[in-house]
Symmetry: C2
Subunit: 387 residues, 2 copies
């Protein structure tokens, strides 16, 4: 089923390739911010310094200096205590999800997730024959009492999958207390947590919160991360971090899956981190996305009719829109595409089907004038549905 | 079990990283032949011409011009009739094997393979809970009568996995008739064939043979291919080709697995194929590997004691050694490592365990003087075992 839904989204995204379409559908970073000149330079340097090594096979674990940088970055920002052996480089953080399914899930196992949750995580895990239980979720994360009820009453729960920072699709962020409680429940009920964190570096305002992992004293929490949103997605370099014994299992599983990640991509990123100031680069991304979020929210407030609500995320790429219960976002999409505006209907983000009166808006990928123009048009379409 | 075996090989390969070790263990191409200057140039061109696109997300199917080139290349060399929609770009051909397992295999299914077969294919498929039946195999490929007996008598056979050209680990090549018969049996018994072909372009002598796929009129054969041995492995770009309906399933499965391959790597290879003459480059690789094979075979003939046999491959990267039945290649390896010479014992290439009196020799990765020196030392070690 998720495959069908995924293919539906693919069809939408194909339409959005037409240049006249203003698309809020993808989850793409702003391409004008990619450090192209710097990448040209690091490519030249890596090939000159160590061309044969950069183009050859390498280890499954990944390039050692890059793993070291990731461990240190996580320690300083997420209150973890990792070293290189806690890190496996993956082909984007999407592969970290796939490998998690391969390591932990068998036919009929249960995955607990937020409601709604990241669409492609549903595809990744479902390939291993699992079922999903959606944990009731509010603006502060999973509702812990509901989560514990499910943990008490359900057999074969193998994973809890969460995106605590600027969640995809809602843009919401878990509060401090619930992060701590989730880590405690993982130990109490002996269930692994996958803490997916592709957007955590992109905080526009407010204070960063410690990771779920930082509260985990028993090795139950694994964290993913990615260079896709802070560097570029084309390189497909992400990671998974966790307990060394578990990461060793992931390494063996990755070996049979695809041997290793792209060698030169790993070496280039490591060199980039060495020569350039990634914090300065991230600051530029944050500044741009904050501006776009502000514009998107302002335009939606102005043009969306009453009775429609949406989130105001403190970071990340997405805001989440709720329509009055009787309106199906797929119907809105049909009308909206006639006006050359695209978005992703929200139903697909509920693994067991659900709230069709929702949709997701991406604000990172388009220039400011297109954001305003597109959301104004969408507002007009919505006024045909909500009077 | 295969994981343990894989980790054993990893341990051997770790030893081989010491510069004093002469290693015949890996399957690595010759790094001095990587087109480093050309890669510097195509990186510059791609980033200048279309940097934002090259660093952004792209389609799961892969970069269209590259898929087109692959289809045309296969048609001209392997007698297939593909277009772009028959091709999915994969993260090395190893991922093509993993996705095949994900698309076709369930717990308890059977995979038929050559005996011996490619070690990492065993890991890739076994992750999906399958069992292996090894088909008796001689110098010309699987013995077709034995194969048909198994097809008649066995339930739940889902895949037949073969490497008809310069097989890993044996270096052997299937003859014309057996290729044709295999395709016919696939249709007759309604079983998919994975025709793995990473080495086919590297023929040192003799006439190329048509692919198994060229005899397949009903869409039962899927072919893999790779740029790892004709360009460089660090980019991790391979492919799987087959019936369009089946390839569409692979696309959906790959989407949940890792979204897509590295964008810029695909665009760079396509540009390379556009600007440079890959046939000329392949000719250079062939010339080097032919010389190394000749030297390896000559040295083995001279220094290996009587009673030891080995293959003389017409292409590829490997020769396969059989010792007298009583000798365990793992014991030889222990002694050999004391003399700083490494290879991979053959037992691991039999999924159900087996001939421990075998080992694999790679001849592509080392300079000529090291090949001679290493095989002379190995000959001395072998003379301690075979008198």
């Amino acid at each position: 089923m998720s495959y069908l839904k995924a293919s539906e989204i693919r069809e939408i995204l194909k339409v959005t390739e037409r240049p006249e379409v203003i698309s809020f559908a993808g989850g793409l970073p702003a391409p004008e911010l990619f450090p192209i000149e710097e990448i040209k330079e690091i490519n030249r340097i890596v090939l000159e310094e160590s061309g044969p090594k950069a183009l050859q096979y390498t280890t499954t674990e990944g390039y050692a200096p890059l793993r070291k940088w990731i461990a240190e970055r996580m320690n300083s920002r997420l209150d973890t205590s990792f070293d290189s052996d806690n890190i496996l480089i993956t082909h984007g953080s999407q592969q970290a999800l796939d490998l998690s399914g391969k390591v932990f899930l068998d036919e009929g196992d249960i995955v607990l997730c937020e409601s709604p949750t990241y669409l492609a995580a549903i595809s990744a895990f479902r390939a291993y024959g699992c079922e999903f239980l959606e944990v009731p979720t509010d603006t502060e994360g999973m509702i812990i009492e509901e989560l514990e009820k499910l943990l008490q009453s359900t057999k074969k729960i193998k994973l809890m999958y969460v995106i605590p920072d600027f969640q995809n699709p809602t843009g919401r962020t878990w509060n401090y207390e619930r992060r701590k409680q989730l880590a405690a429940l993982a130990t109490k009920y002996n269930v692994i947590v996958i803490e997916d964190n592709p957007y955590g570096e992109l905080r526009f305002e407010g204070e960063p919160l410690p990771s779920v992992k930082s509260f985990d004293t028993n090795g139950y929490v694994l964290c993913t991360g990615s260079f896709s949103k802070i560097f570029c997605p084309g390189y497909r370099i992400g990671w998974i971090a966790g307990d060394k014994d578990i990461i060793r299992k992931y390494v063996l599983v990755k070996q049979g899956t695809d041997l290793q990640c792209n060698t030169i991509a790993q070496m280039e990123i490591a060199r980039y981190l060495d020569i350039y100031d990634i914090d300065q680069h991230i600051a530029k991304i944050i500044e741009t996305y904050r501006l776009r979020r502000d514009l998107a929210i302002k335009t939606m407030e102005k043009t969306f009719p009453k009775g429609i609500t949406f989130t105001r995320p403190e970071g990340g790429l997405f805001t989440w829109v709720e329509l009055p219960a009787a309106i199906n976002a797929r119907d809105v999409l049909v009308k909206s595409l006639e006006r050359n505006v695209a978005f992703v209907p929200g139903g697909s983000f509920f693994p067991n089907g659900g709230k069709e009166n929702t949709f997701r808006i991406n604000f990172s990928n388009m220039p400011e004038n297109r954001i305003v123009e597109g959301l104004e048009r969408l507002g007009e379409v919505l006024r045909e549905f909500v009077r």
